[in-house]
Symmetry: C2
Subunit: 283 residues, 2 copies
């Protein structure tokens, strides 16, 4: 019973995946325009999206620690995209309930409004975790942080080239970069329910090392491997925690679009396996 | 022809509304649970939401400078909520094309992903403006900023009590608060297309005055009047620009839920008219 209860939280699902040496998160950034022709032909948009995701998931589920659909690629298609996203999450929960699903939605509003976003992600879709912006502070994020069984993954140092415009600004008498201040607040003040995690891009390994030193064994979601240019060796060295765990290393396009032919799912599995092996080589 | 072309941009629609002394923005935070019984009875959820919004809009359209549906209240209902939101925006565009519609979605991801959010808001839904988080910087927001005819409304100082946790942090050798640094970047660096605006909460009139002094005649979306406790007199004194314009003063609950009886639309009109008069009294 204890085991069962533990395994329904985001963090316990993650840890069970890490125990099997799985640190790859597959980003389901399923841009409809980019899908293989074999998927798009003769199907309504939402069926094509769902079918593509299902094939990717079925081909990779034993190699990953999480799936991460990015809401933007579904919202771009309006109602049909929303249905495809809901169907994909439902499929993952039914077939692979042991694998956590992260909704990469980068939400954050004032407190009363975040209730709506928390309901949408956790109750309507039923995902295990969500990414959020820190800018409005802990008080605004309370409706997310109150969900003990879920993962609240806060943007700290993002993977994009222009991330430093605000995130590197020197703050306070110590002139410490803003992203470190945010990381400290999350790790030392927001995590009363043990459900917080942090985003640091693989494109910034030095910053990743600093955040890891501050955050203890808190999970870090690390996007930016593959198409964005982040390197595996430096990412693992900087990102692993005291147990050699702690990393949710996301790759999206380099896995789901490894091939645009009829072998797209087999190719996605090969790309996932290769990244998995590379990560474990440097741990 | 020039007039017609001008009037299709967010800023020109706004200015035309301001010319008629309209500065109230009605926040369509249409939380389904809170809707009047007369609306909810015997209707599917999405029909109820749409019907409620339509009644509010029909009753207030000649008194406002914008409508602002907050995405969270629609996403909380999943697919049905999404359809109600799309239907509401379609109705506003058809019936009242002169009034700008702001999607309060507080989005922001890395650049390639923001394309999806921009498509969702501007092309699929067809709104005139969107609210965005600044944390990822200008480079990431490029797909929004490139849409010259739209409004890109950046969170600077939000209305919530805990806004200061990061937004007031002292930055750089001048120890200037972060929200002022963000405001300066938006006003002086991001606004090449003249399509930027700024969010400052009515709950922080001193901060509003400082941002106005820095931002020239840039539009400022000012939430926090009414239920959140912001005062009209101090808001108008601090928020108006050199023309006595520049303000998008949002009220949500105090207007749309002014009555929960069958007179909800008439009451919403009365509350809008009262706020409109109060604003103009202090300009």
């Amino acid at each position: 019973m204890q085991q069962l209860t533990n395994n329904i939280t985001f963090i316990s699902k993650l840890e069970a995946c890490w125990q099997r040496d799985n640190f790859v998160c597959v980003g389901l950034d399923s841009d409809y325009e980019q899908l293989p022709d074999i998927i798009k032909g003769g199907r309504p948009v939402e069926d094509g999206l769902f079918h593509f995701n299902r094939e990717i998931i079925d081909a990779t589920h034993d190699l990953v620690c999480a799936y991460k659909p990015n809401a933007a690629f579904y919202e771009a298609l309006g109602e049909a995209g929303w249905r495809a996203l809901a169907g994909t999450v439902r499929y993952m929960r039914e077939m692979y309930p042991q694998i956590p699903v992260i909704l990469d939605a980068k939400r954050a509003d004032i407190g009363s409004t975040n209730l709506g976003y928390a309901q949408s992600a956790f109750d309507y879709l039923g995902v295990d975790a969500i990414t959020v912006h820190p800018y409005l502070g802990r008080e605004a994020l309370a409706p997310f942080l109150a969900r003990k069984e879920k993962g609240i993954i806060v943007l700290v140092k993002t993977s994009n080239p222009g991330a430093g415009e605000f995130q590197d600004l020197p703050v306070g008498p110590q002139q410490e970069p803003l992203y470190m201040v945010v990381a400290r607040h999350v790790a030392h003040d927001w995590n009363g329910n043990g459900n917080c995690a942090i985003v640091v891009g693989a494109t910034y390994p030095d910053e990743l090392r600093r955040v890891r030193a501050l955050a203890g064994d808190m999970p870090i979601l690390i996007p930016g491997i593959g198409a964005q240019g982040g390197e595996v060796a430096s990412t693992v060295k900087a990102g692993q925690d005291s147990r050699g765990w702690g990393m949710i290393i996301n790759a999206s396009r380099s896995i789901i679009f490894a091939s645009r032919g009829s072998d797209f799912a087999v190719s996605a599995r090969a790309a996932t396996g290769q990244l998995r092996a590379e990560i474990n080589q440097y741990r």
